[in-house]
Symmetry: D2
């Protein structure tokens, strides 16, 4: 079978040992197979690979049939936000233990990528969040998140009180360490540590997870992803909002963060046979029981 | 303004003190206002109200413009499942403390109902679950649930092991006291007690909440409501499945429960100004903090 | 060095493949080393080992310097309750994956036991609970628990309402699936699945863990082990109490279960170097992170 | 009956409206009844009450038979730490909603205090924690906590990794937002919000509660209060430790916090009939059920 020649962009985790060699190997492999290889500019610069074209995120969007990311889930989060406007499908190769969204092991990357370029893959769409921060009627910050948007207090500031409105209805005043607004993708990240539920990636939902809430009956709530969530800083100091823990803004009393589903989505390509539940089971050790005394014996 | 005459079915909680008087008062009020009053058969029989037509659930479906239920959330659950196939909108009057879905106080029912019959209401759709139980290839039971479908062990049987597949993908083998599959409506009921998240009624999702799971990393998971969930009894004895705690089936090793969203939905009518978050806040005491020592002072 | 000859009782898990061979090997090893071997009566009967003296639990209490249990944590629970009055130290050999309290692997049992009989071991005391059930002023049942005493509803009975008093002070009326009263030993068993904390074995405490409580602010509470806990069945049907899931009593409305620390304690001997935290870490997979996306990368 | 004249120290919440008037009223009342009134120096300065002797904490320790604190639980925490070395019993008057440890309502203070000075009270002892921070072998900070000692990350720093050893045994490496080490008193404060259990004040225990831990099987653990807990900063930046959220130290990689039970205890005097469970029940709303749909009807 002949595989049609494609244009493939490569993005790598910077400053990680071994990534340069892996990417050179991958680029050479793709080149030999007749594909066109592009390197994301910052990746190329760090790796000093001069044999290939070096392109910006918008150019990847314009020319690439797919982007292959070598790194961990964090690397993927960063590039996914940048490429979200351009609808380029993403493939993730993990140099360490497999991640939730980087699911091809480095040592098997060549045969797996070869097969995927023949069209044997599982495609999946993920949603993103976007938010603006409004102060005194003016937008002072905006950002996009693939995992979560988190409003939280600093270590020395006691607590934050947030007023939350959804679709123009008052939800509650929440006293806590903070509030996580998460996509289904983010539901296996910080939101999970804070006690949130898992959300299947194809659920059209957004989950709000309080961090150490004062009201003991405060529970995570899952909203339709059409919801507009407005979070106002009602009390507290040294408060900030972050987007995937990768961009930040400091907040003042009365600032409002307005969160919505992004108009963009990101497409991931997984190897044939990939399955969300397999990943969950492996990552969360669902098959390994603590062998509870007296119950399993 | 003239209100168009309507046909209204009345359903009441049986054997509850005061309900008969309230329903007679309500029926008389509707009759005086020119509406046609029908009584659900079982209600009529208990109340010995002979002035009004007495009808079955299918007849309510055929003739009534709306059904008014007087009782608590449990009464509403029962009648909502029966009326689900007929698309009759439901109105709930609560004789005690307001419920999640019976939200009109008894002592204000007449003016509120009058206003609602003038078209001043908030309409809202709720989804239901349906399930069949399959043994040796044969369907041995089927049921519908407005809140939840719960598979659980008896008090003397140690634990149950369930194999769960979703959309033909293996999810996990779960050792626990049981598993709750809940609608958004049920997310404020048993699922909440067992540690599940809240689901907004308009979220197109189903939540699976394990009850006392052995695997400490087992967490509630929210699936799209298009999912087909198959629960197989892998180990354990004295196991049963219930639908809204109102119908039951005993289960044997290898029985499979196949759960899907019902094709039916139920429409609730709420008084003008009704708001889901107001109800949550009031029922869950979100505004009453435990006044945590040292943090709020 | 010469080890002083000791009298060692052997107890084994019944009907478990391989246990007979292991016990014969162990008995022979001890006999060769000059120790006196006694077999617990029921074990001896199942294993048809006729070369050794066959003794009852009280006789083990009278004659044995230590009892070695081959099985899992469940086997140990059963024998520990029986031997509690006699102060015989217990050693646990696990034929499968190591348990919380049976911590010597079968394939290393001979050298480890040899070393322990030389006095190289870690000794540790565990507390037990005892309870009586009182109906109409009469005691109708009594029992002892090494892990937990659990009051719970049957699968078809909706919920139980329990009135709890501690040291003659009213604590609460609790609506739930049930209530677990657990020792520190039991805190890694059912209580943990139901959301309870871990209790270090040397903590002089008892933990009460509600199972799926209606009141969302209901939390596990740890009491001094001098507390007297009285649980009264305030509402519900098909309710029972169990002791380590190994003995049971059915309960009626107004029955009271009176729980106290047992006057007895059990002594476990662990191999040199044994450490509670090592066991916890291994059993609970504390070193294996789910590699949360975006946070660890 | 004649009440013996006593020396009573008064301490008040600074900058709180109405406190000055209440304290003047209280001082006058005590003075009239023949008792000697002392004012804590800072309180006296703020309140400009010049009719009474003005004393330091050590002087309160030396001369006072009891100290009455007017404010909230936070005010009490601050003064309790200062007075801990001097064994002066403390009485708490709450100007707002009753606290966990300030349990006399302002509007009933005079008759209640009168009765307590006649010897009609419930006495109760509470434990404290102390800790030192060690950097490169030198102690750089020390502090005492009545509620909790909390190690946590700043809002912008991703996570902290802590190595925890207890009594010289390695417990775990914990990746999280932080770790709370709490007394029984603190178990109703921040530790509770973070998912910790309640600890009865007379339990001789310390609870460690992780804040948003990565390992989903990480659970709160209750240790005997004889434990020495060593927390080492294994990774992370912008990390600090606080004592009752009232004193702080910034931490660096490899710093160690060594936590033990303080040699001091604090004695609280409560009005006759006071009961810990009454307070819990009221503060945690244990009698107000969310009236779970379908379960309570």
């Amino acid at each position: 079978m002949t595989v049609q020649a494609k244009t493939i962009a490569l993005v790598g985790k910077l400053n990680a040992t071994g990534v340069t060699e892996s990417m050179a190997e991958l680029a050479n492999f793709l080149d030999q197979a007749g594909h066109t290889v592009l390197f994301e500019a910052e990746t190329a610069q760090h790796m000093q690979l001069q044999a290939y074209a070096c392109v910006t995120a918008p150019e990847i969007g314009k020319y690439a049939d797919a982007a292959i990311v070598v790194g961990g889930d964090g690397t993927m989060l960063g590039i996914a936000r940048q490429l979200a406007p351009y609808k380029v499908p993403l493939i993730g190769i993990n140099q360490g233990r497999l991640g939730f969204i980087t699911d091809i092991p480095l040592d098997r990357m060549l045969p797996v990528i070869a097969e995927m370029l023949e069209g044997k893959y599982v495609s999946e769409q993920r949603s993103l969040l976007q938010a603006i921060v409004v102060r005194d009627g003016n937008q002072i910050f905006s950002g996009m998140a693939f995992n979560d948007i988190v409003v939280s207090r600093g270590a020395g500031s006691g607590m934050v009180e947030l007023r939350v409105d959804v679709d123009a209805h008052f939800m509650y005043n929440q006293r806590s360490d903070g509030l996580i607004v998460s996509t289904p993708t983010g539901s296996t990240a910080y939101a999970l540590s804070a006690g949130g539920p898992l959300l299947h990636p194809s659920l059209r939902g957004i989950v709000m997870v309080p961090i150490a809430p004062h009201a003991l009956s405060n529970r995570p709530i899952v909203l339709p992803d059409s919801s507009e969530i407005v979070i106002e800083i009602a009390a507290g100091r040294d408060i900030s909002v972050n987007f995937d823990m990768q961009s930040f803004a400091s907040l003042l009393h009365r600032d409002r963060i307005i969160v919505k589903r992004s108009a963009h989505t990101v497409t991931f390509l997984h190897p044939r046979g990939w399955n969300y539940y397999d990943t969950l089971r492996e990552k969360l050790h669902w098959n390994e029981y603590p062998s509870v005394a007296g119950a399993l014996n």
